[in-house]
């Protein structure tokens, strides 16, 4: 067994090396200076003819009058623009599906366990950490990085409480080096995990379950505190890992990510957030264009799905669609503009889009629908970092921050732009000439579950 484990580790090492050499030339040693470029720090005004120096994975200096170390590799930035690396604010990159082992009622296969009620914690694995499950060998990582996405907030999938999200840099390194910060948010799904059959088998069942779990979490905290003060003569509190993980999340004031696509769901989730008395971030928001004032009033940040609703390719062309359906499709890309207009903090997430090309193309649609380009860029960078509390290290080009940046020919949010260089943690990644032409998903897809990192 031990030998097998060693062998596997050795093999894994080889895979990593191969992957790294195949992917890109990651340069760790020398500092880099990009000179004479237009620099868009996001946190401040754009700098024309500026220089940015990266060293030891961090941004060392940004400005027009910056000392370039003698040993630095110098890149001529003439006619190029430097932006902070883009952040996909909610993803499952590097996650197996489903990430945690199926919880009771998760409904995979015939051997699903019977659920007697909320006490069996169906679809709940909130203790699972994306920071511990991230698979650095996910082949889609390269696709996203090539398109300018240097950081993802990735989270386990499957179930009602699938586990905790992590901020991960797409730096091509081991998981331990890729994770920027673990446990940044607790996502929830409100879909019945088994699609019926076992509890909860309906949307109202999921709401009732989540409500009960929050009550149990707070009750257990109270009972445990009393018990620890003096256990004598008292019933021993249960050791419930779902409740314990949620208790930790509540103490850390982690935001709970709640799904809310249409207005009904947005209203419902705002109400539930108030009822549960937890900090929340809503995700989806296709109909956010009609709910911006309510979101502003509720002071709820939003992760906007960049997957604008579209008519299904397989839809019957003669099928009659309702006016409401058509209006949602027409107006959904106007959501970010509406949110910006009401000063609702928001970021974008890819929501299953095939790659960064589509992701950015859809953000451009939001710009065409009225979102100011600088607000779009902020949502893709510093705005996302702020929602997850990592704005002190990511999201803008400032000395001392992590050296995640992209060098772009043309205006990133204009129609004709191409990403020339990507730096993640100061590592430079060359962009293959055909990058973006074909998404990796189409070439190979995600690694199968059998593959080990």
């Amino acid at each position: 067994m031990v030998i097998a484990a060693h062998l596997r580790r050795a093999l894994m090492g080889m895979v990593c090396v191969l992957a790294a050499s195949a992917n890109a030339t990651a340069q760790t040693v020398a500092p880099v200076a990009i000179r004479n470029a237009r620099i868009v720090p996001v946190s401040g005004a754009p700098i024309d003819g500026g220089t940015i120096v990266l060293a030891n994975g961090l941004i060392k200096a940004v400005g027009t009058k910056v000392d370039v170390p003698a040993e630095a590799v110098v890149i001529d930035g003439t006619n190029l623009t430097v932006y902070p690396g883009l952040i996909d604010a909610f993803s499952d990159l590097g996650m197996a599906t489903p990430t945690p082992p199926p919880a009771p009622g998760a409904g995979s296969g015939s051997a699903r366990a019977a659920v007697r009620g909320p006490e069996d914690r169906p679809g709940s694995t909130p203790w699972v950490q994306a920071a511990e499950e991230f698979r650095a060998d996910d082949r889609k990582i390269e696709t996203w990085r090539n398109g300018g996405v240097t950081t993802v907030v990735t989270a386990p999938r499957g179930g009602i409480f699938p586990g905790q999200a992590a901020v991960v840099n797409l730096n091509g390194q081991r998981r331990e080096e890729a994770v920027v910060r673990g446990a940044v948010a607790m996502p929830l799904s409100m879909s019945p995990p088994a699609g019926g059959g076992t509890f909860p088998g309906s949307t109202m069942g999921v709401v009732a379950y989540v409500r009960q779990v929050f009550l149990d979490t707070r009750h257990t905290a109270d009972v445990t505190r009393r018990y620890e003060q003096d256990p004598r003569g008292k019933a021993r509190p249960e050791h419930d890992r779902t409740v314990r993980a949620l208790q930790t999340a509540l103490q850390a004031k982690l935001p709970f990510l709640l799904p809310a696509g249409n207005q009904m769901q947005i209203d419902r989730m705002i109400a539930l957030a108030r009822e549960f008395d937890v900090p929340v971030v809503l995700y989806g928001a296709q109909e956010g264009y009609a709910a911006a004032t309510r979101l502003a009033r509720a002071k709820v940040p939003v992760l906007v799905s960049a997957k604008w609703p579209e008519k299904s390719k397989d839809a019957d062309p003669d099928a009659d669609e309702t006016l409401d359906t058509l209006e949602v499709r027409d107006r959904a890309p106007g959501t970010p503009a509406a949110l910006a207009g009401q000063n609702v903090p928001f970021a974008f997430y890819s929501d299953g889009l095939s790659g960064p090309g589509e992701f950015l193309a859809n953000v451009r649609k939001a710009v065409k629908a009225g979102l100011p380009a600088d607000a779009a860029l902020r949502a893709l960078t510093l705005g996302a970092a702020q929602i997850y509390g990592v704005q002190d290290r990511l999201g803008s080009l400032e000395a001392g921050k992590i050296a995640n940046l992209i060098v772009v020919q043309g205006d990133l949010l204009g129609d004709k732009s191409s990403v020339k260089h990507v730096f993640v943690d100061g590592r430079r990644f060359e962009i293959p000439a055909d990058a973006g032409a074909q998404p990796a998903a189409a070439r190979g897809g995600r690694p199968s579950q059998g593959e080990q990192r």
Binding site: S191, P192, G201, D330
Partner: protein, 465 residues
């Protein structure tokens, strides 16, 4: 903890009513003049006038002064009746109406999943329905909590709620909870599979609820006695509603058909000292009408809908009238997003089958369901002080020719047939414009491949009757 619940509900009520009053600007005065007013409780007024102030009926009569500046609605040739109350509905529910997984699902509630965009709200409204008792399905012996709503089409989910309506819950007897236990419907064949099992499940639940109730009573007593170290019991969302039933604070709406199961439930309720608010469907109610009347349960039934399964073969069209004549408070419900558009006609059938009077027939869809739902102080008849929930019909509502012209809730016109007919053209144009826009847009750019896994959705399941 039960107290917490009540306080929370009260807060919601205050917020909701405050909100609607502001949003609708109900400070205005409306007068409907010269209509045939069917008050339901105080006879018919020819050429009557109804004055509405702040959403409430302020005056009713043949000779009523209309305040200056009032918005006037001409009721000449039209019939005005109280808004229809549908005591059994499944409209406006997001997702499944059944939490089918367990035999006792009192932890779930319709209020959590109200869908204000469901077009069936509008369709019911256009059929004269102003209030509906939206119930959980009948798959479980003890189903989920209900939501009594007003059909305020265009408002959000919270604004649909009938402020102050007593909370209720669905129970179900007979074939449906049995069948839902079969393997085809459940991953694991659940208990119960027989009628004896169904009543046993309900009994077990109340035994459990009593134990839970006494735990809380002991805690409350300890706190009252000054015991600051007392540990509160864990709240159990399944048992809380059952304790509310025992405390007489939550209404039981029990899906039932056969005489034997009806008696079974009434006896169990009497054993646990609560009253069943309504027996739903209750197609064999005529066989045990005296027992139902004695218990004080309401009966909410169909006019002539039966034979869709074995347990309903003894149904007769005289059922509502026979129960009325035995002193049962009877209503006729829709249980259907089609039938709720013509409940007036369903009520009219009881005049043919059983010889009810016009007023008795009208009560089946107005005052009686209001009594059953505990909202009769607010709605169900045209009386001063009640909510101005009104329907203006083109003909006598018990005629098959009657078509609702306007429907008001809280004095606000939520449906106007003329406006709707005009609006259809506007909507058709808007739709065409959007379709054209999409076609031109998509010809420039091929649609992106859809690689995302589709979310698991539960098909909207019809309530098995």
């Amino acid at each position: 903890m039960i107290r917490h619940v009540t306080v929370a509900t009260a807060l919601v009520v205050v917020t909701a009513s405050g909100w609607s009053a502001r949003a609708q600007g109900t400070a205005s005065v409306t007068a409907i003049r010269n209509a045939t007013v069917l008050t339901v409780t105080k006879g018919t007024i020819d050429k009557g006038t109804v004055v509405i102030r702040n959403g409430k009926i302020a005056a009713v009569g043949a000779n009523v002064d209309v305040p200056r500046g009032a918005t006037e609605i001409d009721g000449t040739g039209l019939y005005l009746m109280p808004g229809i109350i549908d005591a059994h509905s499944h409209i406006a529910v997001d997702g499944s109406v059944n939490e089918l997984s367990l035999s006792v699902t009192s932890m779930v509630g319709i209020e959590d999943v109200l869908d204000p965009s469901d077009v069936d709200i509008f369709r019911g409204l256009a059929g004269g329905v102003t209030t509906a008792n939206v119930l959980h399905g009948s798959g479980n012996a003890i189903g989920g909590k209900n939501a009594v709503i007003k059909l305020r089409w265009g408002k959000d989910a919270r604004a649909l709620l009938f402020e102050g309506a007593p909370p209720g819950i669905k129970f179900a007897l007979g074939e449906n909870p049995k069948r839902a236990s079969q393997a085809a419907n459940n991953a694991d064949r659940r208990y119960p599979a027989t009628r004896m099992g169904v009543i046993d499940v309900i009994r077990e639940a109340f035994v459990e609820a009593r134990a839970y109730q006494s735990k809380w009573r002991a805690y409350d007593a300890a706190v009252k006695a000054g015991d600051r170290a007392a540990t509160p019991p864990a709240r159990d969302l399944k048992l809380e509603p059952l304790v509310e039933i025992l405390d007489g604070k939550r209404l039981v709406h029990a899906h039932s058909y056969r005489a034997d199961e009806i008696l079974q439930l009434l006896r169990l309720a009497e054993e646990f000292k609560f009253r069943v608010a309504t027996l739903q469907h209750v197609l064999e109610g005529y066989k045990v009408a005296d027992e139902i009347a004695k218990h004080g349960a309401g009966a909410s039934t169909f006019s002539d809908w039966w034979a869709y399964k074995f347990e309903v073969i003894d149904a007769i069209p005289y059922n509502p009238a026979l129960m009325v004549q035995r002193g049962v408070v009877v209503s006729i419900n829709s249980d259907s997003a089609e039938e709720h558009r013509h409940l007036n006609q369903e009520a009219a059938k009881t005049m043919k089958y059983g010889g009810l009077t016009e007023e008795q027939a009208l009560k089946l869809i107005t005052l009686n369901p209001a009594l059953q739902l505990g909202i009769d102080k607010r709605v169900g008849s045209i009386e001063v002080g009640k909510d101005a929930d009104l329907v203006l019909y083109s003909a006598h509502p018990l005629s098959t020719f009657a078509i609702p012209q306007r429907v008001l809730i809280d004095g606000v016109v939520y449906f106007d047939r003329d406006t709707d007919l005009k609006d259809r053209e506007v909507r058709a144009k808007r739709k065409q414009a959007l379709e054209d826009k999409e076609k031109t847009g998509s010809s420039q750019r091929p649609a992106a491949p859809d690689t995302t896994p589709k979310p698991e959705t539960t098909p909207r399941s019809e309530d098995a009757r």
